[in-house]
């Protein structure tokens, strides 16, 4: 049994209007969903008996050698995106890595976190161990 547009005056009420608005909002917001690394707990990092500047240089070089493009950086934090062949920073489906530095009296605690995208998960991996190993090689 079908209902014509003229007969459904009672069906489309305020609740359904709100539902439609919510669907619109969700579809729109999914496009701008922010994904960013999350600072891990301090006990998950590695302490290096090196000054901050040395750790920054080693981390920068380690990220570059592992094919990461550094997109955000200050004295205590570096954020980079892993680029697969053919990808650019503006157009990629790759994971983000955040590296936090906690300097303290001649040593530096380094924390690393990987944030994966919702799409293209099969091509992404966690980089904590590989990146830490590469940083050690750079020192």
């Amino acid at each position: 049994m079908f209902i014509t547009i003229r007969e459904e005056e009672c069906m489309i009420g305020p609740l359904k209007t709100l539902t439609v608005m919510l669907i619109f909002a969700l579809f729109t917001l999914v496009g701008c969903a922010e994904y960013a690394p999350v600072e891990p707990a301090a006990n998950t990092g590695t302490v290096f008996q090196r000054p901050l500047e040395e750790m920054q240089t080693a981390t920068r070089n380690a990220l570059t050698k592992l094919n990461f493009a550094i997109i955000k950086e200050n004295e205590l934090y570096i954020e980079a995106v892993h680029l697969k062949p053919g990808e650019t920073v503006e157009d990629n489906e790759s994971e983000l890595v955040g590296v936090w530095f906690k300097p303290k009296e001649g040593s530096t605690l380094v924390l690393i976190d990987t944030e994966k995208r919702a799409s293209g998960v099969a091509k992404q991996k966690a980089w904590e161990q590989d990146l830490m190993r590469q940083i050690m090689r750079e020192l």
Partner: protein
Amino acid sequence: MPFRIHPCEGLSSSTGRDVLVILMLRSQPWRTCLVLLFTMVIMAGQTVMSSATAEENSPSDDILLKHAPVFSAPAGEPITINAQFDGEGDISEVRLYFKTMAMDSYLYVVMERTGKSRYESELPPAKNGTKGVDYLILFTDNTGEAIRSKTYRILISDIYTSPRPGTAKLEVFSERPLSPQPLATFAAPLRVVATTSPLLASATPYKHPPIKVPGPAPGGTASSRKGLGGMSISISVGGVGISVGGH
């Protein structure tokens, strides 16, 4: 012909679409306007948020440097670097310093003025295997004070064929003596000229705006790994947000 819906359909996406069409066609336009207005507000907020990170500027004293960093580039191609200066101060000279990861000291080229307060220059193409090129922008005002930006790193992606070397030698300047070996990482031949006006060592760092550094997961220090295979999604509009995913 009236638009028809089967009453047995659940709230599927096709039903949602049909409901939307019905709303658009109904004789009560206020609902349509409300839906469209709501969507436009969200999309406008999205546009504002995404455009805020396009360029980098800083509340410096007299001169504002606007520069969109180059994050990655393919080997074998020159890399164009742009910079724009706003504010009340006058720019005397703009230099683009660069070096590969294998080099100890910087080379530089003088950036050309391409418009009112806009400067542009090209980095020489890098060879396969270069991995990364560092660059920074240094400018001097009319008082002779030199101000340098922070160092940016360009990830150089290798290409399958060796980059074609340039025929003309590109003139670059050096503030320190250089060994020829690191210059071999560039795909174009360079003619290095020793400068008579070194500025880099004495330049004042430019006050870049602070960046947003992600903090720990909400709810204190969480030692557990994230759920959803390492993914988390947070959606925020105008400071109001929701987070999805285990932390």
